[in-house]
């Protein structure tokens, strides 16, 4: 069993239930983004949180640019955690880019998963007429440029220097706390893997039942994208949220919790 994944992915397990509920964070942050939602399920589930390699408090030394050049590497992270804890009948709650990571993981080992909860999923962010992804390639380039600018000021130069200062480890801690994505270079690559991916072909192959949570006014994953995902995934449930933006679990945790509970209830009751 690849128990190395437990420390590598900074895995945290809590809750009093037996069925595992695995939360996969989205791009730009770490497992902390679940802190308004995950505790709500601790009574009924075994809550498992983790950070992708390169995010949060994961083991940065385990970062392999080739492995994480595509979402497959991140899907492997999910499966590694599942194997490390030998999780079965997993309810995988995935945000944003993690939705496609979840699709890939579920397609590879469907027997491990009972349900998928996909929050703001998008199989492709760039428009590809007639497909509407919501962005032009130039928009993604703008994002990447902005990320570079944000890192050039401080993280790009300071972070590695501080990280390498063994006398003052608290500086590294502080830096980790101050920004979700730890390493600017990794974050930049994650952005490319995320926003330039195309997983449309993977959707029809999903055999695990899924809930699609679609925010209103989500400019990262517009409603038509959510509807497209629902249309392509057999056995999926689509719920339009009142929550606006792209991070309902942070901006509207109550509604998010409620919809997930509602979706899991029949399965749970059965």
């Amino acid at each position: 069993m690849p128990v190395e994944a437990l420390s590598r992915n900074n895995v945290r397990v809590s809750g009093r239930g037996t069925q595992p509920m695995l939360f996969a964070h989205g791009f730009g942050c770490d497992q902390n983004m679940w802190r308004f939602v995950a505790p709500a399920f601790e009574d009924d589930y075994q809550v498992v949180l983790f950070d992708y390699v390169g995010s949060g408090k994961s083991d940065l030394s385990a970062y392999d640019p080739r492995r994480y050049a595509t979402l497959d590497g991140y899907a492997q992270d999910v499966l590694d955690v599942v194997h490390a804890l030998d999780l079965r009948d997993v309810v995988l709650v995935a945000h944003s880019v993690s939705s496609m990571v979840a699709v890939l993981a579920a397609n590879r080992e469907p027997e491990r998963f009972e349900r998928l909860v996909l929050i703001g999923p998008s199989p492709r962010y760039v428009n590809d007429p007639p497909y509407v992804g919501g962005f032009e390639r130039a928009d993604i380039d703008g994002l990447l440029e902005m990320m570079e600018h944000n890192y050039i000021g401080w993280a790009g130069f300071l972070a590695p220097a501080i990280m390498k200062n063994p006398d003052r480890p608290e500086l590294g801690e502080e830096l980790t706390e101050s920004f979700c994505s730890t390493d600017p270079v990794i974050s930049r690559r994650f952005a490319e893997a995320t926003f330039l991916s195309d997983n449309r072909d993977d959707l029809p192959r999903v055999r695990v039942p899924a809930l699609i949570l679609q925010c209103s006014d989500d400019m990262v994953a517009p409603t038509e994208v959510g509807e497209y995902v629902h249309g392509q995934m057999p056995g999926s449930t689509f719920r339009q949220m009142n929550a606006t933006g792209h991070c309902p679990h942070m901006s509207h945790p109550e509604e998010t919790i409620e919809l997930i509970r509602e979706y899991l209830q029949p399965a749970h009751a059965a």
Partner: protein, 439 residues
């Protein structure tokens, strides 16, 4: 947790309204609740025009993504964000690069996110230059890595080739060693062959010496033996003639035996002497044109009586003008020898046949065939060796030294011809003499 609700727009402190930095406050749902005149001017809006709009309207698409994925989670989780670079969208569509500091605080029962925005026109230029330089450096580093990789690969290839070369060299060395060994072996063989050659030469010289000594010895011995033998013959004749008194019948018979033995011994010695002469190359040949028919006419009377007395038929067929270039006397000697042999080894009632003819350009032949006992195949090659007779039992029966055929062949060869035999055991033998034809 109380969710943000749009706070009512309110008038800003005039000081803040005209501060040298943009200021805006927005609710959690993204509605701008406050914006100072400086920010409005920065973005090309009229004062107060921004309030009530959504934050998205003043963000470029990239900035909106960044806002959603980074800025919002950050401010939501940590309550603040420091020095975040954003590209805002002006009223005319132009980009305005800014640095934003944000604080999230509860105000009048709702969450308000207050931002200070500083335009970074100059700084952006520097940053872009820096970014370009960094990208260039990264590209260079990537290229260097690629080159290093190529070099490593080339190096590995070279190392592999070096190993291969080393192996080939090793093989070549082994082959060279092997060749060297073979050369040594060949040299040794050559030395051995040279030595053997020298030895053979030495042996040949020794054999020649021995042969010459033997011939010389035989010549001397023959001479020394013939003298007393001739004396024996003389004394026998004297006694037979009764010069030393009357000879009884028994004494006459003894003298006759002595005489026959003496003749036999003398013939043997003559043969040995002849052979020795021939072998030592001391025989001289008087070559002339010899007409074989005529030669046979001279020879036949010498053997015919014995043939007739033994009950043998002698047939002869020699085409006219069959002429050899040879020593007449020696050819006669050979033919007599052949006829004597035929006579000797053919039982009574048999036939002896003489044929002759031309065989090809410059060669004549003469054969003597009999219907005698024949020679076994394994003996046919040695029949011309000195002191060899076909059958030991017949040696005793037949008189002869066993030198006749050896001498005959040597004589034939001495004249540029040869003597050969073909025979079937129990059916007879055919001896064929070849000689050069007339000139």
């Amino acid at each position: 947790m109380s969710e943000a609700v749009g706070a009512p727009a309110r008038a800003l402190d005039p000081l803040l309204d005209h501060a040298p930095a943009g200021f805006l406050s927005f609710a959690d749902d993204g509605t701008i609740t406050l914006a100072n005149a400086t920010l409005a001017e920065m973005l090309g809006y009229a004062p107060g025009e921004l309030v009530g709009r959504r934050l998205d309207t003043v963000l470029t698409t990239g900035a909106r993504l960044f806002w959603q994925t980074h800025f919002f989670p950050l401010i939501r989780m940590h309550g603040r964000a420091d020095e975040v670079f954003l590209v805002l969208r002006g009223a005319g569509g132009g980009d305005v690069a800014v640095l934003a500091n944000a604080v999230r605080r509860e105000r009048a029962g709702a969450w308000a996110n207050d931002c200070v925005v500083v335009q970074v026109r100059e700084r952006r230029k520097f940053e872009e230059a820096l970014l370009a330089a960094r990208k260039e450096a990264e590209r260079a580093r990537a290229q260097a890595e690629e080159h290093a990789e190529e070099l490593r690969a080339a190096n590995e290839q070279l190392e592999e080739q070096a190993v291969e070369l080393e192996l080939s060299q090793e093989q070549l060395r082994e082959q060279a060693t092997e060749l060297e060994m073979q050369a040594d072996h060949l040299r040794a063989l050559n030395d051995e062959l040279t030595e053997r050659g020298i030895e053979l030469e030495r042996q040949r010289a020794a054999a020649d010496d021995a042969n010459r000594a033997k011939s010389s010895f035989l010549a001397v011995m023959s001479h020394e033996l013939r003298t007393p033998l001739n004396a024996i013959a003389g004394y026998v004749q004297l006694m037979e003639m009764g010069i030393h008194g009357p000879v009884t019948d028994a004494q006459r018979e003894a003298l006759d035996r002595i005489g026959r033995s003496q003749k036999h011994l003398l013939r043997l010695i003559n043969d040995v002497l002849n052979l020795a002469r021939i072998e030592s190359g001391r025989v001289e040949y008087m070559l002339e044109d010899v007409e074989l028919g005529g030669l046979m006419a001279d020879v036949t009377p010498m053997v015919e009586p014995q043939m007739l007395s033994k009950g043998l038929a002698l047939e002869m067929e020699i085409p006219p003008r069959t002429v050899a270039r040879a020593d007449r006397e020696k050819v006669q000697q050979i033919v007599i020898n052949l006829l004597s042999n035929a006579l000797k080894f053919t039982p009574p009632g048999g036939r002896v046949r003489v044929d002759a003819g031309r065989a090809g350009p410059g060669v004549v032949w003469l054969s003597v065939a009999d219907t005698g006992i024949g020679i076994p195949p394994e003996k046919q090659v040695s029949v011309f060796d000195p002191f060899v007779q076909v059958d030991m039992s017949s040696t005793r029966r037949s008189e002869g030294s066993g030198l006749g055929l050896a001498i005959s062949r040597d004589l034939a060869r001495g004249m540029g011809g040869d003597l050969s035999v073909a025979s079937t055991l129990g059916a007879g033998s055919t001896f064929t003499l070849t000689l050069p034809a007339e000139s």
